[in-house]
């Protein structure tokens, strides 16, 4: 009788153990596959956004550029917008359009010289400093450089998913 009990205990542990093992083995590829965007982050690249002289000194304009490696079915979401401000002959500042409060898209009001957020009323000055409302930080910026008379910006992850944003 004792032998039977031991045998049963062994068989039930064996069955449960094998099932758990099978589940664990199966979940490795599944979890890795689901996390692949984190395991293989995209490499950010410089993107051309136009001639230097396309932009007037003192003006802020919206420009769009292609994400570093969009999926073929990304459609319009393959692109991202940003606000590009020409501060001098060779000086440019590029702002993310995402409000630092919760990420809604800020719009440039040329006459008022302010960025306004439509969601919770965040306001920023032309240089990205917070002017009013709930945003905790200035507008995040992109790196800008000039190459052969063309303005280029360095792509970056969506500002709101980065800790160091702003």
């Amino acid at each position: 009788m004792d032998e039977l009990a031991t045998r049963r205990r062994f068989l039930s542990r064996l069955s449960i153990g094998l099932s758990v093992l099978a589940g664990a083995v199966m979940s490795v590829p599944i979890v890795a596959y689901l996390l692949s965007p984190l395991i293989h982050p995209v490499r950010n690249v410089w993107r051309d956004v136009g001639w230097v002289d396309d932009f007037k000194v003192g003006d802020t304009a919206q420009v769009a550029f292609q994400e570093p490696s969009p999926l073929p079915w990304a459609g319009q979401t393959a692109k991202t917008a940003m606000w590009l401000r020409r501060t001098g002959e060779t000086g440019f500042t590029a702002f993310a359009v995402t409000c630092t409060h919760l990420g809604c898209p800020v719009s440039w009001q040329a006459q008022a010289r302010l960025f306004l957020c439509p969601c919770h009323g965040g306001v920023y000055y032309a240089d990205g400093r917070v002017a009013a409302g709930p945003p905790p930080r200035p507008l995040p910026q992109y790196d800008v450089r000039i190459q052969g008379g063309r303005v280029e910006i360095m792509t970056q992850p969506l500002a709101v998913v980065r800790k160091e944003a702003g």
Binding site: P41, V97, P118, P134
Partner: protein, 461 residues
């Protein structure tokens, strides 16, 4: 008829008369109309599954096609607009029904011994229902949906330590793009429904196992030692078969809700399809569907100093409260008449949600960018500097935050009579330097523009 009876006898190989019948005819206490919301939620879920499967026959979960497939469903497929309408209004119905069912269960103390697990499985179903509501509105993949993902990621990113990873898992990478929509699609149509089917199975099993809670009587507390025996005695004394004596109320109510959903899905029908998601069209005015407007409003009204804590803490505390409730008060009084705190919690939460949904709808904290020019009654008699000032008031966006004579934004103070409140110097100083929640306009105004604007404001009395 004879054929039917024969078929039934043959079918009894399924064990209908020995297994299923006793379950559907099991005795239940005499209940009232407050007990119909759980079954109605289940019916709403089934309707969502059926219409959801139907929609999936045509919907293409890719950013380059989602909008076109939705146009097809809404405007070309036969009765597609009604199917989309049922799915949309059914979602609203399900959110309302599960919320009322939950409030009812809480108010009547039905979560107490021995039904703690009924509550826990129900609480998880409530959270999943909200998850379905959120992921569902994203599948419309319009501007609102795109920015809702960004806003959700921004909130996820505020979680300490794992926030960044959490946000990236949510959007499937570093930016919202092709992988994001398929992620929410798979979650909405496979992952969450599978979990819900499982939990609904557990929930229903538990309802049968522990029986429907009897309507509570004040002064008749739940006592663990004696409850089961007293419940069994009650059923023997005055129990009625669930089917059809009690179930007819469920059927009538579910039919009523279903009819309302069907009517709404025809008139007004599903919501108009917005502009397809396009991150390069920045002027957008994203709003969540109504069931999240209250949260949208809360995030606008909170003081900035507590925001980080709130964004992480509030959902966590709500979840913890729901899961801890049956352990915090597993026995004792069930009647709402003897539980003032429970009544207050439900009453105040309900009131808060209604008020906040309204506030979120009005969004007085947002500058009214679409506001028109000042009315003739304000500007008609103006000349020279004051007329220029009035034009500047429109052009520089002042009107977007300040109302004059009834029109304009409500973000800042109404300026209809500001000339009698503030002196010229005060007006100049506020305009140039800003104030509490007003931007400084020093850099945006030339000296003569400032003079004109202030002259206009001064004569507003």
């Amino acid at each position: 008829m004879r054929l039917l009876r024969q078929a039934y006898r043959w079918h009894d190989r399924l064990g209908i008369s020995s297994t299923i019948l006793p379950i559907v005819e099991h005795p239940v206490p005499r209940t009232n109309w407050w007990y119909v919301f759980g079954s109605a939620t289940l019916v709403a879920f089934v309707v969502q599954v059926i219409t959801g499967v139907a929609l999936a026959f045509s919907y293409v979960p890719a950013p380059n096609s989602a909008a076109d497939s939705l146009q097809f469903i809404t405007h070309e497929a036969v009765l597609g607009s009604v199917v989309r309408g049922i799915h949309y209004w059914g979602a609203s119905a399900m959110v309302v029904l599960i919320a009322i069912h939950m409030a009812r269960t809480f108010l009547m103390g039905s979560y107490k011994f021995p039904r703690e697990l009924n509550w826990l499985s129900g609480a998880l179903l409530f959270i999943l229902t909200l998850g379905m509501a959120f992921s569902g509105q994203l599948l419309r993949w319009d501007q609102d949906a795109y920015w809702a993902v960004v806003v959700a990621a921004a909130q996820a990113a505020r979680v300490p330590l794992i926030g960044e990873v959490f946000a990236q898992i949510l959007v499937a990478g570093q930016t919202v793009g092709g992988a994001t929509l398929t992620r929410f699609y798979a979650t909405h149509v496979f992952l969450f429904p599978a979990l819900m089917f499982m939990l609904i199975g557990v929930h229903l099993y538990l309802v049968i196992r522990h029986g429907i809670s009897e309507p509570p009587q004040p002064g008749d507390p739940v006592d663990r030692a004696s409850y089961r025996q007293r419940y069994a005695d009650l059923l023997r004394r005055e129990g009625i078969p669930f089917w059809p004596d009690a179930a007819w109320k469920d059927v009538v109510f579910a039919l009523a809700v279903g009819s309302i959903v069907l009517l709404l899905s025809i008139v007004p029908g599903p919501p108009e399809l917005g502009k397809p998601a396009d991150p390069t069209i920045v002027p957008a005015d994203p709003r969540p569907d109504w069931y999240f407007l209250w949260y949208f409003a809360l995030l606008a009204l909170l003081p900035a100093s507590v925001e980080d804590w709130f964004i992480v803490g509030f959902p966590l505390l709500m979840g913890l409260f729901l899961l801890a409730l049956p352990f915090l008060a597993p026995s004792g009084e069930r009647s709402a008449e003897r539980r003032p705190w429970a009544t207050a919690i439900v009453g105040l939460s309900g009131l808060a949600v209604v008020v906040l949904v309204w506030e979120g709808h009005m969004a007085p904290w947002s500058p009214a960018l679409d506001v028109g020019p000042l009315p003739e009654t304000v500007t008609g008699h103006l000349t020279g500097d004051t007329a220029t000032g009035a034009q500047l008031f429109d052009a520089k966006g002042c009107h977007a935050c300040h109302a004059i004579a009834g029109g304009g934004g409500r973000r800042g103070p109404d300026l209809t009579e500001v000339g009698s409140r503030l002196s010229r110097d005060q007006l100049v100083s506020r305009t140039l330097n800003g104030g509490r929640n007003m931007p400084a306009y020093g850099a945006a105004l030339q000296p003569d523009e400032t003079n004109a604007l202030v002259a206009f404001l001064e004569q507003l009395r």
